[in-house]
Protein backbone atom coordinates (compact mmCIF):
# COMPACT_ATOMS: atom_id res chain seq x y z
CA UNK A 1 0.00 0.00 0.00
CA UNK A 2 1.88 3.03 -1.28
CA UNK A 3 1.29 5.99 0.98
CA UNK A 4 3.12 8.48 -1.24
CA UNK A 5 2.40 8.54 -4.96
CA UNK A 6 3.86 10.32 -7.92
CA UNK A 7 1.54 9.58 -10.79
CA UNK A 8 3.62 11.13 -13.55
CA UNK A 9 6.69 9.03 -14.34
CA UNK A 10 8.11 11.68 -16.63
CA UNK A 11 7.81 15.35 -17.54
CA UNK A 12 9.37 17.33 -20.36
CA UNK A 13 9.70 21.12 -20.18
CA UNK A 14 11.35 23.78 -22.28
CA UNK A 15 14.26 25.68 -20.75
CA UNK A 16 13.09 28.88 -19.06
CA UNK A 17 9.55 27.63 -18.48
CA UNK A 18 8.04 26.39 -15.24
CA UNK A 19 8.30 22.74 -14.18
CA UNK A 20 5.56 21.46 -11.88
CA UNK A 21 6.01 18.09 -10.24
CA UNK A 22 3.15 16.61 -8.28
CA UNK A 23 2.85 14.23 -5.36
CA UNK A 24 -0.13 12.81 -3.45
CA UNK A 25 -0.21 11.12 -0.08
CA UNK A 26 -2.83 9.14 1.80
CA UNK A 27 -1.77 9.29 5.46
CA UNK A 28 -3.21 12.34 7.24
CA UNK A 29 -0.66 11.86 10.04
CA UNK A 30 2.20 12.93 7.78
CA UNK A 31 3.46 16.32 8.89
CA UNK A 32 6.77 16.78 7.11
CA UNK A 33 7.32 16.63 3.38
CA UNK A 34 10.47 16.66 1.30
CA UNK A 35 11.68 16.65 -2.28
CA UNK A 36 14.84 14.91 -3.41
CA UNK A 37 16.72 15.10 -6.68
CA UNK A 38 18.64 12.23 -8.20
CA UNK A 39 21.15 12.29 -11.03
CA UNK A 40 22.24 9.05 -12.72
CA UNK A 41 24.89 7.09 -10.82
CA UNK A 42 24.37 9.20 -7.70
CA UNK A 43 22.26 8.85 -4.57
CA UNK A 44 19.25 11.13 -4.11
CA UNK A 45 20.06 14.49 -2.52
CA UNK A 46 17.75 16.60 -0.43
CA UNK A 47 16.29 19.60 -2.23
CA UNK A 48 13.60 21.31 -0.16
CA UNK A 49 11.14 20.51 2.60
CA UNK A 50 7.95 21.85 4.12
CA UNK A 51 6.28 21.37 7.46
CA UNK A 52 2.54 20.85 7.64
CA UNK A 53 2.14 24.14 9.50
CA UNK A 54 3.01 25.93 6.26
CA UNK A 55 1.50 25.84 2.80
CA UNK A 56 4.49 27.18 0.90
CA UNK A 57 8.26 27.14 1.17
CA UNK A 58 10.57 28.83 -1.27
CA UNK A 59 14.28 28.42 -1.92
CA UNK A 60 15.59 30.25 -4.94
CA UNK A 61 14.07 28.78 -8.07
CA UNK A 62 12.38 25.99 -6.10
CA UNK A 63 9.04 26.33 -4.33
CA UNK A 64 7.09 23.59 -2.62
CA UNK A 65 3.34 23.96 -2.10
CA UNK A 66 1.33 21.89 0.34
CA UNK A 67 -2.43 21.42 0.18
CA UNK A 68 -3.30 19.45 3.31
CA UNK A 69 -7.00 19.16 2.58
CA UNK A 70 -6.22 17.56 -0.77
CA UNK A 71 -3.22 15.63 0.60
CA UNK A 72 -1.21 17.01 -2.28
CA UNK A 73 2.13 18.68 -2.65
CA UNK A 74 3.90 20.08 -5.64
CA UNK A 75 7.35 21.31 -6.54
CA UNK A 76 7.66 24.30 -8.85
CA UNK A 77 10.94 25.06 -10.60
CA UNK A 78 11.09 28.39 -12.32
CA UNK A 79 12.82 29.10 -14.55
CA UNK A 80 13.76 25.54 -15.47
CA UNK A 81 17.32 24.89 -16.56
CA UNK A 82 18.85 21.92 -18.41
CA UNK A 83 20.85 21.10 -15.26
CA UNK A 84 17.55 20.47 -13.50
CA UNK A 85 17.07 17.35 -15.61
CA UNK A 86 16.98 14.53 -13.06
CA UNK A 87 14.59 12.22 -11.25
CA UNK A 88 12.65 13.93 -8.48
CA UNK A 89 11.29 12.02 -5.50
CA UNK A 90 8.82 13.31 -2.96
CA UNK A 91 8.82 11.93 0.56
CA UNK A 92 6.69 12.27 3.67
CA UNK A 93 7.10 11.47 7.33
CA UNK A 94 5.09 11.57 10.53
CA UNK A 95 5.84 11.87 14.22
CA UNK A 96 8.36 9.03 14.21
CA UNK A 97 10.25 10.56 11.30
CA UNK A 98 10.04 7.39 9.19
CA UNK A 99 10.23 8.43 5.55
CA UNK A 100 7.96 7.19 2.80
CA UNK A 101 9.08 7.88 -0.77
CA UNK A 102 7.20 8.21 -4.02
CA UNK A 103 8.32 6.36 -7.13
CA UNK A 104 9.84 9.42 -8.77
CA UNK A 105 9.25 11.69 -11.77
CA UNK A 106 11.92 12.03 -14.42
CA UNK A 107 12.22 15.66 -15.49
CA UNK A 108 13.78 16.54 -18.83
CA UNK A 109 14.47 20.21 -19.44
CA UNK A 110 15.08 20.82 -23.12
CA UNK A 111 17.54 23.55 -24.16
Amino acid sequence: DQQVKQNSPSLSVQEGRISILNCDYTNSMFDYFLWYKKYPAEGPTFLISISSIKDKNEDGRFTVFLNKSAKHLSLHIVPSQPGDSAVYFCAASGVFNKFYFGSGTKLNVKP
Partner: protein, 118 residues
Protein backbone atom coordinates in the same frame (compact mmCIF):
# COMPACT_ATOMS: atom_id res chain seq x y z
CA UNK B 1 32.58 9.87 7.94
CA UNK B 2 30.74 12.93 6.74
CA UNK B 3 28.11 11.09 4.75
CA UNK B 4 26.49 7.73 4.19
CA UNK B 5 29.02 5.32 2.74
CA UNK B 6 28.13 2.23 0.74
CA UNK B 7 30.39 -0.54 -0.48
CA UNK B 8 31.11 -1.89 -2.94
CA UNK B 9 30.08 0.78 -5.42
CA UNK B 10 29.71 -1.85 -8.13
CA UNK B 11 29.27 -5.57 -7.91
CA UNK B 12 28.99 -8.09 -10.72
CA UNK B 13 28.04 -11.57 -9.62
CA UNK B 14 27.01 -14.83 -11.21
CA UNK B 15 23.48 -16.03 -10.91
CA UNK B 16 23.09 -18.24 -7.87
CA UNK B 17 25.88 -16.66 -5.84
CA UNK B 18 25.34 -14.82 -2.56
CA UNK B 19 26.23 -11.14 -2.22
CA UNK B 20 26.63 -8.85 0.75
CA UNK B 21 26.21 -5.10 0.52
CA UNK B 22 27.41 -2.77 3.23
CA UNK B 23 26.15 0.58 4.50
CA UNK B 24 27.89 2.89 6.96
CA UNK B 25 25.36 5.49 8.11
CA UNK B 26 26.11 8.95 9.39
CA UNK B 27 27.32 8.73 12.97
CA UNK B 28 24.49 9.21 15.43
CA UNK B 29 21.72 8.45 12.96
CA UNK B 30 19.33 6.03 14.59
CA UNK B 31 17.25 5.31 11.49
CA UNK B 32 18.56 3.37 8.50
CA UNK B 33 16.77 2.44 5.29
CA UNK B 34 17.51 0.17 2.36
CA UNK B 35 15.91 0.82 -1.02
CA UNK B 36 16.52 -0.48 -4.48
CA UNK B 37 15.97 1.07 -7.86
CA UNK B 38 15.74 -1.22 -10.85
CA UNK B 39 16.43 0.18 -14.28
CA UNK B 40 13.69 2.59 -15.29
CA UNK B 41 11.81 2.04 -12.04
CA UNK B 42 11.20 4.11 -8.91
CA UNK B 43 12.52 3.67 -5.39
CA UNK B 44 11.43 0.38 -3.86
CA UNK B 45 11.46 0.21 -0.06
CA UNK B 46 13.19 -2.87 1.33
CA UNK B 47 13.79 -2.55 5.08
CA UNK B 48 13.87 0.06 7.87
CA UNK B 49 15.83 0.01 11.13
CA UNK B 50 15.10 2.44 13.97
CA UNK B 51 17.25 2.19 17.07
CA UNK B 52 16.66 -1.01 19.00
CA UNK B 53 13.14 -1.53 17.64
CA UNK B 54 12.30 -4.56 15.55
CA UNK B 55 13.08 -3.73 11.90
CA UNK B 56 10.32 -3.15 9.38
CA UNK B 57 11.03 -5.90 6.85
CA UNK B 58 7.79 -5.49 4.92
CA UNK B 59 9.55 -4.47 1.70
CA UNK B 60 11.89 -7.43 1.35
CA UNK B 61 10.82 -9.13 -1.90
CA UNK B 62 11.64 -12.71 -0.92
CA UNK B 63 13.27 -14.79 1.79
CA UNK B 64 16.51 -14.65 -0.22
CA UNK B 65 16.87 -11.11 1.10
CA UNK B 66 17.94 -10.33 4.65
CA UNK B 67 19.51 -7.41 6.45
CA UNK B 68 21.19 -6.81 9.74
CA UNK B 69 22.27 -3.78 11.65
CA UNK B 70 24.70 -3.71 14.54
CA UNK B 71 23.38 -1.25 17.09
CA UNK B 72 23.20 2.15 15.43
CA UNK B 73 26.10 1.56 13.06
CA UNK B 74 26.86 -0.58 10.05
CA UNK B 75 24.17 -2.46 8.17
CA UNK B 76 24.59 -5.32 5.71
CA UNK B 77 22.06 -6.40 3.12
CA UNK B 78 22.51 -10.01 2.01
CA UNK B 79 21.01 -11.50 -1.10
CA UNK B 80 21.26 -15.28 -1.35
CA UNK B 81 21.16 -17.26 -4.57
CA UNK B 82 21.03 -14.09 -6.67
CA UNK B 83 18.74 -13.94 -9.69
CA UNK B 84 18.93 -11.67 -12.71
CA UNK B 85 15.89 -9.74 -11.50
CA UNK B 86 17.94 -8.70 -8.45
CA UNK B 87 20.05 -6.47 -10.71
CA UNK B 88 19.48 -2.92 -9.46
CA UNK B 89 21.05 -0.03 -7.62
CA UNK B 90 20.75 -0.64 -3.90
CA UNK B 91 20.52 2.58 -1.91
CA UNK B 92 21.01 3.09 1.80
CA UNK B 93 19.83 6.14 3.73
CA UNK B 94 20.07 7.24 7.33
CA UNK B 95 18.40 9.89 9.42
CA UNK B 96 18.07 11.20 12.93
CA UNK B 97 14.89 10.39 14.80
CA UNK B 98 14.30 14.06 15.57
CA UNK B 99 16.51 17.04 16.24
CA UNK B 100 16.65 18.76 19.57
CA UNK B 101 13.52 20.82 20.09
CA UNK B 102 11.52 18.53 17.85
CA UNK B 103 12.83 20.01 14.61
CA UNK B 104 12.60 17.70 11.66
CA UNK B 105 15.47 16.63 9.48
CA UNK B 106 15.91 14.84 6.21
CA UNK B 107 17.26 11.42 5.31
CA UNK B 108 20.70 11.28 3.74
CA UNK B 109 21.49 8.79 1.00
CA UNK B 110 24.65 6.98 0.04
CA UNK B 111 25.85 6.72 -3.55
CA UNK B 112 24.41 3.26 -3.92
CA UNK B 113 25.74 -0.14 -4.92
CA UNK B 114 25.09 -1.14 -8.51
CA UNK B 115 24.48 -4.88 -8.53
CA UNK B 116 24.59 -6.77 -11.80
CA UNK B 117 23.69 -10.44 -11.85
CA UNK B 118 24.93 -12.23 -14.96
Amino acid sequence: GAGVSQSPSNKVTEKGKDVELRCDPISGHTALYWYRQRLGQGLEFLIYFQGNSAPDKSGLPSDRFSAERTGESVSTLTIQRTQQEDSAVYLCASSLFRLRGGRRTEAFFGQGTRLTVV
